[in-house]
């Protein structure tokens, strides 16, 4: 991975140095190895704290809504899954494609520091990636973990290793194939009785603290003013204690992004209470696939979408209620 980071840094320097781009969006070093921060670099000097490692899980594409409207061209590093969000944002005219230079970068799956800690490792000071294993040093000792066990939820069920948008590419090693397992959890939920499923979501959504991190990080949630933040909407809400509030918020949000959600998994990555929010979106994706044929949002930046185009053979809403969606 170190060689990928070096190559990326080299390109960022060249692009900024030559004036081809005004800024590069990537990651800068945090306080530790495992907490890099999304950053915009505007000069070669600023690149001194540039970083790319196994903890760069954040999807940077949403930052382009602001950045692509600034003066000058913006270069951005996109992992395969981020490139779907990028295309979707182009399709929705939320970002200005011609102002952007996409550098498609290699991804070997990103790691989750919370999962590392869940393995009983505390006071982590260093993390060293080595192929399929990760060596973790802490104030209480050292341990070696399997990468497989500490991948971000979204990476454990990676949908594709193919970049859907790129102006250039930095891929130095083969990327592992997708396991095609992202609907496994949805199928488990579908197999439950209604009562069981209701209990599952009730328990999960009760944890919600209404911090809105899922919404604010979501590339599909790009409204300038969210209805839940608008006091004039009549449904603005900040309270989280009534059981109904959270369900209303999350289900409305899932409906609103249905057909546009690329399944980037950021909602679940950022949830402080680890609610598996991505499962709501995946259920919609699976149903849309079943009703209107296979469709992956963000695969292209053009073309018709299943929920915004009509054909005579379209399934009626009642079919969904009758369970034909499965």
């Amino acid at each position: 991975m170190k060689d990928v980071e070096m190559k990326m840094l080299e390109r960022a320097k060249a692009l900024l140095g030559s004036g081809e781009v005004a800024r590069v969006i990537g990651w800068k070093k945090g306080e530790f190895y495992f907490d890099p921060v999304p950053a915009s670099f505007e000069s070669v000097e600023e690149l001194s704290d540039f970083v790319y490692n196994g903890f760069c899980g954040a999807n940077l594409s949403k930052y382009l809504i602001q950045m692509s409207k600034k003066e000058g061209k913006t270069a951005i590093f996109l992992k395969p899954c981020d490139s779907y969000s990028f295309n979707q944002l182009v399709k929705e005219h939320r970002i200005v494609r011609e102002n952007i230079h996409v550098i498609a970068i290699e991804c070997q799956g990103k790691l989750d520091i919370e999962k590392i800690k869940a393995q009983g490792v505390s006071a982590v000071t260093e993390v060293e990636e080595d192929g399929d294993t990760v060596k973790v040093s802490s104030l209480y000792g050292e341990t070696t973990l399997n990468k497989e066990d500490i991948l971000l939820v979204k990476c454990a069920t990676c949908k594709s290793k193919t970049h859907q948008a790129k102006d250039e590419e930095i891929v130095l090693h083969e990327m592992p194939e997708s396991k095609n397992n992202r609907f496994d959890e949805v199928e488990k939920l579908e197999a439950m009785t209604e009562t069981e499923r209701f209990a599952f979501w009730k328990l999960q959504l009760q944890k919600c603290i209404r911090c809105n991190a899922c919404r604010n990080v979501c590339p599909a949630c790009s409204c300038i003013k969210c209805v839940f933040d608008n006091p004039a909407s009549g449904i603005a809400a900040k309270a989280n204690d009534s059981e109904f509030e959270e369900k209303l918020f999350h289900i409305i949000r899932a409906f609103h992004v249905a057909g546009r959600c690329t399944d980037c998994g950021e909602c679940s990555r950022v949830c402080p209470q680890n609610i598996p929010l991505h499962l709501l979106n995946r259920k919609f994706i699976k149903d849309i696939d079943g009703l209107y044929g296979e469709y992956q949002a963000g695969e292209t930046a053009e073309g018709k979408t299943p929920l915004t185009s009509y054909t005579e053979g379209d399934k009626e809403p009642n079919d969904v209620v009758d369970g034909e969606a499965k």
Binding site: F32, V37, A123, V124, T125, L139, C211, A239, N240, D241
Partner: protein, 344 residues
């Protein structure tokens, strides 16, 4: 000092719960937060940081304030406040940083004019603290003068492999001790001292142990406010409320009315200075950019609050924001950038 065998802890919880409500860290749907104890609940005292802090017990995320009913031209105001005489409560397992945070909240809610909603909950609670024995990299309570190995509270406890050590500090603490006395035995001073020394040795090695806060002084307010570094520090901020809602000292709330079939309920709920409508007023909003909101949060913790409270910072170094910020921004980065010369 008393000690209670670890295998009798469940018995201890049951004993307390006979006469009092017991809030304790419980694992529910994978996450550990303070919940009301009941038989069969998965207590996790070992969890260093609950996702939400114990402030929830005194300052709930949502709380009904009053109810209105109208009949013709008459408006009836119904008091719906929580009745503290109903049952006393115990909150068990509060860490030193979180206890310090309650002191910070007290200065806000118990200062004149007293917030009676907060006060009634605060008075109904006996606080049992638990010393830390395994701090982690995101902890920096020592930078704010907190001793993680000797928290205050009505009762202080320490936990090791074999025992829970129990030290009452106040009248409320003595009263609670009476309830559990028959399952306790004397002793434990040496074990506690040994654990404290071992933990303190780790505390000194923590990466954020020696943050320099020296520049956060009231006289530097304007200079800090105008520092150009805020732009870059806030660049990646999503404007979500995670940091504020997991923070043990954030105390801002919103008040709203909610129409129900039985009248109008006025409630308050946590609010976040990170939200775009936080300072919305009739004339518009005084903070229009995320940089301004971001700056407000940290200036409040490190400059405004201490300037009004004899230098007491309203950060206690619990490190929840360090762990939970989706984009890995946090107060440590702000302190390192603006705090003083001794931050590397």
């Amino acid at each position: 000092m008393l000690k209670i065998a670890k295998e009798r802890l469940n018995e201890l919880y049951a004993k307390i719960a006979e006469s009092m409500g017991l809030f304790i860290p419980i694992k529910k749907a994978g996450e550990v937060n303070y919940h009301v104890w009941g038989e069969g609940k998965e207590v996790s005292l070992e969890t260093l940081k609950t996702v939400k802090s114990p402030k929830n017990a005194f300052f709930p995320a949502s709380e009904n304030l009053m109810k209105f009913k109208t009949e013709g031209k008459n408006l009836e105001i119904i008091d719906v406040r929580w009745d503290k005489s109903e049952k006393p409560f115990v909150i068990f397992g509060v860490k030193a940083c979180d206890y310090k945070a309650i002191e910070v909240l007290d200065k806000v809610f118990l200062a004149d004019p007293v917030d009676t909603y907060y006060q009634s909950r605060r008075e109904a609670f006996t606080i049992v603290t638990l010393a830390c024995s395994k701090p982690e990299e995101s902890c920096f309570c020592n930078a704010f003068g907190v001793d993680a190995t000797a928290p205050k509270g009505d009762v202080t406890t320490w936990l090791d492999e074999k025992y829970l050590y129990w030290q009452p500090n106040t009248e409320k603490g003595e009263a609670l001790t009476q309830i559990v006395a028959d399952m306790a035995e004397q002793g434990g001073e040496a074990e506690v001292a040994a654990q404290q020394a071992a933990t303190q040795a780790i505390m000194e090695k923590l990466p954020f142990a020696s943050l320099d806060l020296s520049r956060f002084q009231p006289e530097n307010l304007n200079e800090l406010f105008d520092d150009p570094a805020w732009e870059e520090m806030s660049e990646a901020c999503l404007g979500c409320g995670t940091c504020t809602f997991v923070c043990p000292t954030c105390q801002c709330f919103d008040i709203r009315d909610f129409k129900t079939h039985e009248g109008v309920i006025r409630y308050r709920c946590w609010d976040s200075c990170m939200y775009s409508d936080f300072t919305l007023m009739a004339h518009g909003n005084s903070r229009t950019t995320q940089m301004q909101r971001f700056r407000q949060r940290f200036m409040h913790k490190l400059v405004y609050y201490p300037s009004q409270n004899d230098g007491l910072y309203s950060c206690v170094g619990c490190g929840r924001c360090v762990n939970k910020c989706p984009q890995r921004l946090n107060i440590v980065k702000v302190i390192k950038t603006l705090g003083g010369k001794d931050n590397d």
